[in-house]
Amino acid sequence: MRRILIVEDDPMVALDLEEIVLGADAQARVALAASVREAERALASLEFDAALLDIDVLDGKTYEVATRLHERGTPFAFVSASRPEELPAPLRNVPFVPKPYDPADIERTLRARLIGED
C-alpha cells in the first residue's frame, strides 16, 4: 500500500489529482496538503512513496518541501502552472507536468517516474 502526498491548494484540483492517483493505484493512501505548513506536518509524521507538488500554494512556494523529499529519496513531480525554467537550478531535473494537465499525463508520470510501474 503506497502513500502518496499531494500538495495542492485548490480543492477541486486536489480532488481531481486524488482521483487520478487512485485511478492508477486503487490501493494508494493519499494525503492532501494545501500549504507548505501542512505538507511539512505530514512529512514529519509519515513516510511517503511519492508526491505531487503544486509550486505556488497558500503560504508560499513548495521548494523546501521538494528539497526535503529529495533528501529523503522520495520520488516526486511538480504539477504547476509555473514554467519549468522558473525553478531553482537544483530542482530542474524533477519531473514536471504543466497545468492545465491532461489526466493521462499525470497517470503516465506516476507510473513511469514515481511508483515504479509502467
Binding site: M12, A81, K99
Partner: protein, 638 residues
C-alpha cells in the same frame, strides 16, 4: 676725360678715390626724393639767384649727380637742364666734404682738359657746397661758377652762406620727399581700404569721422561724405544707437580699443548685425592722432552661431533632460575613452577624468559581472567588422543600486579600413526595463491564473462525471481534452515577455506541432507537417486549435490514426493573401462516405473557418478524409 664712355659709374671714373658709400644706394636715395626731371620751381630758383648774388657769380646751380648725368634742378647763367657726367666738376665736388673750391680750373689737372674749361663757356672758377642727406650720402651740390679765375676763392661769409643755402636746398628736398611719401602712403591706404571686404573708417582724435572706404558707401548706400562727423550713429538700429555712442565715447576718453556689435542699416533698409572695431594710432609722445576702425557684417556668422548654439542647447537639454543620456568617443588604438558628464554619472566616474579620457579598463568595474562578458563580446564583434554596436547591460551605482543602460555606437575607420574610433551614446533604460519586467511579471501572473482556471475546470469536469455512467464519463473525457487543446493553444500564443513582437513570434507550424504532440507529433512518423509557415495570432489560434483537436481525435478514434499503418499529412500553402491547409488521412480504415450525422468536428470546422473569413471543404474519399481549409493570412495573424 671725354674719352670716358657715357654711363660709366661715377665711382669707377679714373682719378676718383673710392667713396665711402655704395653708389647704388646713393642713386636709390637720390631717386627717392622724386626731384629728377621735375620742372624748375620757385623755391629752388630763388636759392640759386641768392647764391649768385651772394658770391657775385654769373652762374649758380642746384646740381644733382645722377648715374651718368648731372641734372640741374635750378640754374642761373647756364640755360641748361643737364649735362653728361664726364664734364662735371660737381662729380668731383661730391667726393669732398662740405665746400669744394677750384680757384682756377686751368691750373687744376682734374679740370684743365674739361671741354667746358677749354671751350665755351670757359669756366674758370668753381665753388660747390655739398647737398648731403642726414645719412651722409652726397646727392649733388649747390655751386657757383665764374668765367674768371678767383685765386682768393670765396670770402668766409660767402662760403658760410653757400653752405647754409645748400642745407636749405636739402631741407626743401626732405620736405618734398616726406610729403610725397605721405601721399603715396595715403594712396596705398585708400586702395587697400577700398579693396577690403570690410567697411573701414577713420576719425580725428575727437572722434569725428573724416574717412570711409568704398565698401561703407556701397553697404549703406548713403551719399559720399554724408556720414562724416557724427552722422554714423544714425545708421545704427535705434535700439543700438545709445549703447554704441556710449561705448565709442568711452573709447575716445580712455583710449581703449573699441569693439561692439550693433545692427547697421544696409542700403535696402535691412538692419544687419555688424561687428565694429577701432584702434587708436598714437604719435611718438603717445597722443592719439587718429582712430582707425572697421565694420564687419556678421549677420550670417551670427545666424550660423545662433543656430549652432540653439542646436547645442537642444542637444544639451535633450541629453541632460532626464540625466539619462551620455555620449562617448573611444580612441581604440590609444584606448582612451572620452565622454560627457552624463556618461560619467552612469559609470560613477569623475566627469573631469572622463573629459580628459580614461582607458576602457577603468570603466569595467562599474559593469555588472553577469553582463561583462556579453558586453566585451559585443565590443569585439563591433571592432571585428560589425561596425554597429549595441549592448544592454547593468551598471553598478555608487549607492549600490543598479541601472540598466543601452549603449549604441558606430565604428569609424581610417583610410586603411582599420577601426580607429568607436563613438556612441549610452542611455539609462532602467525605468523601461522595470516597466518591462513589471509587464512581464503581470503577463506571467495572468497566464498562471488562466492555466489554473483551465486546470480547475478540467478537474471539475472529471469530478462531476465521477461515478456517472460510462457514456457521461466518456463525454467528460472528450470535453476535458477539448479544453486541454484550447489551453495548449492559449499557452502557445500567450503574450510573451514584453518587448516581443505582436503575436510573440508564434507561427502556424509551431501551433500545430504543439497541438499534435499528444498524438505522437512528427517523431512518430504518423503526422507529417509540410509547407509554408505563417504567423498566427491569439484569436485564430484558439479556433484552429479546436478544429485541429477535433480532426486529430476523430482520426485517432475512427480515422487514419486508429490504425498502426495510418498517417496524416498536413500541408500548408500560401496562395497570395490566403493560406491553404490540407489535412489528408491515409492508411486508415476504408471510408464509406460522409458521416450521416454532422459531428462536432465538422460543425466546428465549418463555423470556425467561416469566422476566420475562410472556407472549408471535406472530401470523404475511400482512402481517407481530406479536409481543405482556406483562411486569409491577415485573419490568421489576428
Amino acid at each position: 676725360m671725354t674719352e670716358l664712355p657715357p654711363g660709366a659709374a661715377l665711382a669707377e671714373m679714373p682719378g676718383f678715390s673710392a667713396p665711402a658709400w655704395d653708389e647704388a644706394h646713393r642713386l636709390a636715395e637720390l631717386r627717392s626724393y622724386g626731384i629728377l626731371d621735375t620742372p624748375p620751381e620757385r623755391d629752388f630758383d630763388e636759392v640759386v639767384q641768392f647764391a649768385a648774388q651772394l658770391c657775385a657769380a654769373p652762374i649758380a646751380v642746384v646740381n644733382l649727380i645722377d648715374q651718368d648725368r648731372q641734372f640741374f634742378k635750378a640754374e642761373i647763367g647756364l640755360s641748361l637742364r643737364e649735362t653728361p657726367l664726364d664734364v662735371s666738376i660737381c662729380a668731383h665736388a661730391i667726393l669732398q666734404p662740405d665746400l669744394f673750391v677750384v680757384p682756377d680750373t686751368t691750373r687744376d689737372p682734374r679740370f684743365a682738359a674739361n671741354p667746358l674749361v677749354t671751350g665755351a663757356p670757359h669756366l674758370r672758377f668753381y665753388a660747390g657746397a655739398l647737398l648731403e642727406t642726414a645719412e651722409g650720402l652726397p646727392l649733388g651740390t649747390l655751386c657757383v661758377l665764374d668765367y674768371v679765375a678767383r685765386p682768393e676763392g670765396l670770402t668766409p661769409e660767402q662760403a658760410f652762406g653757400l653752405q647754409i643755402l645748400a642745407r636749405q636746398v636739402m631741407a626743401q628736398l626732405e620736405l618734398r620727399r616726406a610729403l610725397a611719401m605721405r601721399e603715396a602712403s595715403e594712396r596705398r591706404f585708400r586702395v587697400l581700404a577700398d579693396a577690403m571686404p570690410q567697411m573701414v573708417w577713420s576719425t580725428l582724435p575727437d572722434g569725428s569721422h573724416d574717412y570711409y572706404n568704398a565698401r561703407w558707401y556701397e553697404f549703406t548706400g548713403v551719399p559720399f561724405g554724408s556720414t562724416d562727423g557724427a552722422g554714423w550713429n544714425g545708421m545704427f538700429h535705434p535700439d543700438d544707437q545709445a549703447r554704441a555712442w556710449a561705448r565709442w565715447r568711452h573709447s575716445l576718453e580712455s583710449g581703449e580699443p573699441y569693439e561692439i556689435e550693433y545692427r547697421l542699416r544696409r542700403a535696402d533698409g535691412v538692419y544687419r548685425w555688424t561687428l565694429g572695431r577701432a584702434l587708436p594710432v598714437r604719435d611718438a609722445e603717445g597722443r592719439i592722432e587718429r582712430w582707425f576702425g572697421t565694420c564687419t557684417d556678421i549677420e550670417d556668422i551670427k545666424a550660423t552661431e545662433d543656430a549652432l548654439r540653439r542646436s547645442e542647447e537642444r542637444l544639451r537639454l535633450a541629453l541632460s533632460a532626464a540625466e539619462m543620456v551620455g555620449t562617448f568617443i573611444w580612441d581604440v588604438r590609444a584606448d582612451r575613452i572620452a565622454a560627457d558628464p552624463g556618461f560619467a554619472r552612469l559609470f560613477s566616474v569623475a566627469p573631469e577624468a572622463l573629459a580628459a579620457g580614461v582607458s576602457i579598463a577603468a570603466l569595467e568595474p562599474a559593469v555588472h559581472p553577469e553582463d561583462a562578458l556579453r558586453l566585451r563580446a559585443r565590443i569585439r564583434a563591433a571592432l571585428q567588422g560589425e561596425r554597429g554596436f549595441e549592448a544592454e547591460y547593468r551598471l553598478r551605482q555608487r549607492d549600490g543600486g543598479l541601472r540598466w543602460v543601452v549603449a549604441r555606437g558606430r565604428c569609424e575607420g581610417d583610410a586603411a579600413g582599420q577601426v580607429s574610433e568607436l563613438r556612441g551614446v549610452i542611455m539609462d533604460i532602467t525605468e523601461r526595463k522595470l516597466a518591462e519586467e513589471g509587464q512581464e511579471l503581470l503577463a506571467r501572473e495572468l497566464s498562471h491564473r488562466i492555466k489554473n482556471i483551465f486546470t480547475v475546470i478540467g478537474g471539475m469536469i472529471s469530478l462531476s462525471s465521477s461515478g456517472a455512467t460510462p457514456e457521461v464519463r466518456g463525454f467528460a473525457q472528450v470535453l476535458r481534452r477539448r479544453l486541454q487543446a484550447l489551453a495548449v493553444a492559449h499557452d502557445y500564443v500567450r503574450p510573451e515577455a514584453a518587448g516581443a513582437a505582436p503575436g510573440g513570434g508564434t507561427t502556424l507550424r509551431g501551433l500545430l506541432a504543439t497541438l499534435l504532440a499528444p498524438y505522437g507529433g512528427e517523431e512518430s512518423g504518423r503526422l507529417r507537417l509540410m509547407g509554408d509557415d505563417v504567423p498566427v495570432g491569439v484569436k485564430a489560434a484558439t479556433s484552429l486549435a479546436l478544429i485541429l483537436h477535433e480532426l486529430a481525435t476523430n482520426a485517432a478514434k475512427y480515422g487514419a490514426l486508429s490504425r498502426e499503418a495510418g498517417h496524416v499529412a498536413i500541408t500548408l500553402e500560401r496562395r497570395g493573401e490566403r493560406l491553404g491547409l490540407t489535412w489528408q488521412e491515409r492508411g486508415g480504415p476504408e471510408v464509406a462516405g460522409p458521416p450521416e450525422r454532422r459531428g462536432f468536428g465538422t460543425i466546428l470546422a465549418e463555423r470556425g473557418s467561416l469566422q476566420l473569413g475562410g472556407r472549408v471543404a471535406q472530401d470523404w474519399d475511400r482512402a481517407g478524409l481530406t479536409l481543405r481549409l482556406e483562411v486569409p493570412l491577415a485573419r490568421l495573424a489576428g
